[in-house]
């Protein structure tokens, strides 16, 4: 088929798909209750079928992957109507669709169950929607790759696992989904383990690219595994305390309604155990969402294909940590208020203190990570690395919001802000990554220094990437602005209540926003504007000039860009709407939801935003970062080299080497661990314990040799021994007597 025919067919398919999607959203009721199972069932079915279909025809496999991704998305979107129509809320609980899985008689029954509530449906829609678009994009991006079966398998398995994670109704099932996405991330990062060109890595030295990819995958798995260990420990502790409180469960809604376990946990060790358990719980999100101190796996994860980076490390897996914290925080916040009914005041104060400290620590880690990663992004030299650092930074924002939400009286506002920042970020970060993929594909290099001046050659990519960058920076009225605004106002409220932490969060948040817009402009400027680099000129000379991406790739980009714009413009409305929703559910002061008419709500929100002091702070931060960024990179054309000297150079090195954290981790844990293991093997095992066997064996042989010397064969010797033996026997007989069958010494009565 010719190109224009292709385009027409493509357009028709897109329109039909969109119509079916909208129909699913509106009429989703009819799929209930199957949609809860199918929205992860379809992707997993697609994953299992991918290697089988590959036997028939590769195209069948590729298109089936897209089909199953689409079906999964349909199922996820069809659950939206259940939320809004009130089917899923029966007054006290959200709906759960369950099937019994493990039952320990007399103790606990853990189901394989799906919870249909706003947060899970929201996340499922984001995951499957962005996932589907990325799968479509992959058709073009991964064309011609030799191991596509493996790719489709893991991508779809990932989407299925992510949906299980967000829709699970109990902690164990969430953990299972958690590990599934970790496994797929490991497999997909190390996807190109075959490549044999040599590259240089700071930690590994000169290795083949395949070796580096596998190493990056292994690093991701092990670092997140450290976090998972903490999560698992805390799940088991929660299980233990629910048992001792009399109602063994791991189900979220049950944990919410029967909060006695929280009280029991708070009593132990004066609240220290509560804090420890939940910090261990938070260690899981720290690992998965790449927060400090476990943030150093994400930049290496860029070794995988760009679609993998987009899906896993921008849109889905790293959001899992945020989701988990969002899932547990209402339970903890409710405990904060409701425990007063079952605990004595002294202990209640201890519980409150522990919970407050927990949220404070979340906010601190989030803010610190956001700041830290933004500074690293300022000096990064690879396109995808900038985006990776930016992801870490934005995730930090989300955690900051979730942490602050528990403090302020208007807490649900912050919760809503975090959720929306999550959705918006998923979309625009996926957009940025995918367009980065198009650029990488075209320029055949991952370094910013090899790009430049390709705006005329790739206009669509430039446009969408600009939209993404503006959304990322938080320029009004794009998406990122509203959520950052909400986060800053939560911090402002916190400061207003007298806590100095509010000021610190606000300050660092604002600085991070300034850095964000600076590096976004840097990114756009270095990639698209300015003079073409030597690499671009070489490509033109070689006859493969930089060109726009094919249709199958830029259509998803366009859809994502449009989605970004839509979310940007409607976010205030949606945010307010969801705020009403979650307010009813999570607010402790029961009040009826006040749903004002649409326009009024919209205007109300605008007025609220534009008249708050944080608006000035946000705009100020944008200007602070934006003006230098604009001057350096968009008007002027600086390069990636840094010409500073002395102290500036030191700071540059510090930022460039990722605050030396990566190196420190390798030194302490990898080298240190191996040294400990090898040392123990050499000294304790082979020289110590194993030696003990030989000591025993040698002494046994020595003893036997010693005894053998009695057998001299010399006759007189034997005679003497005979005599001695006879005398001894006589002595025994004289001194002892037999008493009732036992040999007892004579003086015994």
């Amino acid at each position: 088929m010719s190109n224009s025919q292709n385009r027409v067919v493509g357009l028709i398919i897109v329109i039909i798909a969109a119509i079916i999607l909208i129909a699913a959203v509106i009429f989703g009721q009819m799929f209930y209750p199957y949609n809860a199972w199918l929205c992860w069932g379809f992707p997993i079915l697609g994953a299992v079928l991918a290697p089988l279909l590959a036997k028939f025809h590769p195209k069948a496999r590729d298109y089936s992957a897209i089909l199953f991704g689409y079906l999964g998305m349909l199922m996820a979107f069809s659950m939206i109507s259940a939320i809004f129509s009130g089917v899923a809320w029966d007054g006290t609980q959200w709906l759960e669709v369950t099937s019994p899985w493990i039952s320990v008689p007399g103790l606990i029954t853990i189901d394989w169950g799906m919870l249909i509530d706003p947060l899970s449906v929201f996340m499922a829609c984001v995951a499957t929607g962005v996932g589907f678009l990325i799968l479509a994009y992959s058709l073009g991006y991964m064309k011609g790759d030799s191991s596509l079966s493996r790719y489709w398998f893991f991508m779809q398995f990932f989407i299925g696992g992510m949906v299980i994670l967000v829709m699970a109704n109990n902690l164990l099932l969430t953990f299972i989904g958690w590990e599934i996405v970790g496994l797929c991330s490991y497999a997909l990062i190390g996807f190109w383990y075959n490549r044999s060109n040599m590259v240089h890595d700071d930690q590994l030295g000169d290795v083949t690219e395949g070796e580096l990819n596998s190493h990056s995958g292994m690093k991701a798995f092990i670092v997140t595994r450290v976090g998972d260990v903490g999560l698992l420990i805390s799940i088991i502790f929660i299980f233990f305390f629910t048992v001792s409180a009399g109602n063994p469960t791991l189900n979220y809604q049950a944990l919410l309604t029967d909060y006695a376990w929280l009280g029991q946990m708070a009593i132990v060790l004066n609240g220290v155990l509560l804090l420890t358990v939940f910090l261990l719980f938070f260690l899981g999100p720290i690992g998965k969402s790449a927060q400090f101190p476990l943030q150093f796996w994400l930049p290496e994860a860029m070794a995988g294909p760009t679609t993998v980076s987009a899906l896993i490390h921008a849109a889905a897996m790293v959001k899992a940590g945020v989701y988990l914290v969002a899932r547990m925080s209402p339970i903890l916040v409710q405990g904060y208020f409701a425990l007063s009914t079952i605990m004595i005041p002294a202990l209640y104060a201890i519980a409150q203190n522990a919970l407050l400290n927990f949220f404070l620590i979340i906010a601190i880690i989030g803010t610190f990570t956001a700041f830290m990663a933004a500074t690293m992004a300022l000096v990064a030299n690879e396109l995808k690395k900038v985006l990776a650092f930016s992801t870490i930074s934005q995730l930090g924002y989300m955690f900051m919001a979730l942490g602050i939400f528990a403090f302020t009286a208007d807490g649900v506002y912050g919760y809503t802000a975090a959720a929306f920042h999550l959705a918006a970020h998923a979309i625009f970060k996926a957009l940025l990554f995918l367009s980065a993929g198009a650029v990488l594909h075209a320029v055949h290099s991952k370094y910013l220094a090899d790009m430049g001046g390709i705006r005329k050659a790739m206009p669509i990519t430039f446009a969408v990437m600009l939209i993404g960058a503006l959304a990322l920076s938080g320029v009004p009225p794009f998406g990122g602005f509203w959520s950052k605004e909400a986060i800053f106002s939560s911090a402002w409220h916190l400061w207003g209540t007298g806590s100095l932490w509010g000021m610190i969060f606000l300050l660092f948040g604002a600085l991070t926003a300034a850095f964000t817009i600076f590096y976004s402009f840097r990114l756009i400027g270095l990639t698209f504007l300015g003079n073409p680099s030597k690499n671009v000129k070489d490509l033109e000379a070689a006859g493969t000039p930089v060109h726009e991406a094919p249709g199958i790739m830029w259509v998803p980009l366009a859809i994502l860009a449009i989605a970004t714009l839509i979310i940007g413009f409607t976010e205030p409305f949606l945010q307010n709407f969801f705020y009403q929703f979650w307010d009813v559910q999570y607010s402790l002061i029961p009040h009826a939801p006040h749903l004002a008419p649409l326009l009024e709500m919209y205007l109300e929100f605008f007025i609220h935003v534009f008249t708050s002091p944080t608006f000035l702070i946000t705009i100020g931060a944008l200007l602070l970062g934006g003006i230098p960024g604009y001057i350096f990179y968009i008007r002027g054309s600086r390069s990636t080299d840094f010409a500073g000297r002395g102290f500036a150079r030191r700071i540059y090195n510090f930022l460039y080497n990722r605050w030396y954290w990566n190196g420190a981790m390798y030194l302490i844990f990898v080298d240190g661990g191996l040294r400990v293991a090898r040392g123990m093997y050499k000294y304790i095992e082979t020289k110590g314990i194993d030696k003990f066997n030989y000591v025993v064996a040698d002494s046994a042989m020595g003893a036997s040799r010693g005894w053998r010397r009695l057998q001299t064969g010399v006759h007189s010797w034997n005679m003497i021994l005979l005599l001695i033996g006879a005398l001894a026997f006589l002595l025994l007989l004289l001194l002892f007597q037999f008493y009732g069958g036992l040999l007892i010494p004579l003086p015994f009565p």
């Binding site: 001299t712 064969g713 010399v714 006759h715 007189s716 005679m719 005599l723």
Partner: protein, 111 residues
């Protein structure tokens, strides 16, 4: 305490003689290098045992003599004769092999 007298000496003298014979026999078996002397010492040991038996046979009930013990002694003497015969056969064999009557040559299980 009054002891039975036999041949004008109290009965315990016989026992002492028997012990002497034991001692000489054991001493001889333990110390003598010559196989023949070893054999003689063995016989002395046996004689000591026999004397012991006889003494107790007489001294048992005072007036009654335990004939079973005396019968046993006679059997033992016969057996002792057999023992001497076999022992002498051993000694001849050893003399033929080693060329000497030194008992210290017989200290290995195999050559």
């Amino acid at each position: 305490m009054s002891y039975l007298e036999l041949l004008g000496v109290p009965i315990y003298v016989f026992l002492i003689v028997a012990v002497f014979l034991y001692a000489i026999g054991i001493y001889g078996m333990a110390t003598k290098r010559n196989m023949i002397r070893f054999l003689i010492a063995l016989e002395l040991l046996l004689d000591g045992a026999h004397l012991n038996f006889i003494t107790f046979a007489v001294a048992w009930q005072g007036f009654y003599i335990d004939l079973l013990a005396q019968a046993i002694v006679i059997v033992s003497i016969c057996i002792g004769g057999g023992v001497i015969a076999i022992a002498l056969a051993f000694i001849i064999r050893a003399y033929n092999k080693f060329g000497t009557l030194d008992i210290r040559k017989l200290n290995k299980l195999r050559h």
